[in-house]
Symmetry: C2
Subunit: 109 residues, 2 copies
């Protein structure tokens, strides 16, 4: 199925799904926080002003379900935290490009 | 206001607004179609399967409002079409990165 739809390029279900996932409110900020080494729920919540615990929990579960995050203990961690998978790490370039665009072209209103 | 919040980086209102705008259903596909030289409403509709005229109209207006598209006649066009502004053209890198990620990391379910 994925193979067949690659031919549709940017109009493929894969592209729709990816842009909606990345565009969901708070998702970019959460991934950024984890890029910056915040792996625990409370740490992530602390660096994102305005994000409720309920929504953070929902977004984290969604990102785990989509294979972008995994909950595991890394070396030196007593309790499991959220870590980017290879699929999640690959999003770095997208978010950096989006962030640069947002800074260079702020909303004018 | 924009100046003050740049310091918040990826947790800034600018980043939230940009990721939500780009992530809105169909928006990436519409911008891609216009990158590919489809400037008229009917041409854009024809290359995006499943997108209703009502939603296309809504998204085009939204993109004009955000300064990403402008409706004007270009050389050789009898009627005005939708064209990317400089702000819109600057999104190219973001969408290409997102598209590459979507193709490399398709959903597994």
């Amino acid at each position: 199925m994925a193979q067949n739809s690659i031919g549709h390029g940017p109009f493929s279900p894969e592209f729709h799904a990816a842009s909606e996932l990345v565009g969901r409110k708070w998702t970019g900020a959460i991934i950024y926080a984890i890029f910056n080494g915040k792996t625990r729920f409370a740490e992530i919540a602390a660096v994102i002003p305005g994000l409720s615990d309920r929504l953070l929990d929902e977004r984290l579960k969604e990102l785990v379900r989509h294979g972008i995050l995994e909950k595991r203990s890394s070396e030196g961690e007593a309790k499991p935290g959220y870590h980017l998978t290879r699929k999640g790490l690959a999003l770095r370039g997208v978010l950096i490009a989006l962030y640069a665009w947002a800074i260079n072209w702020p909303e004018t209103e």
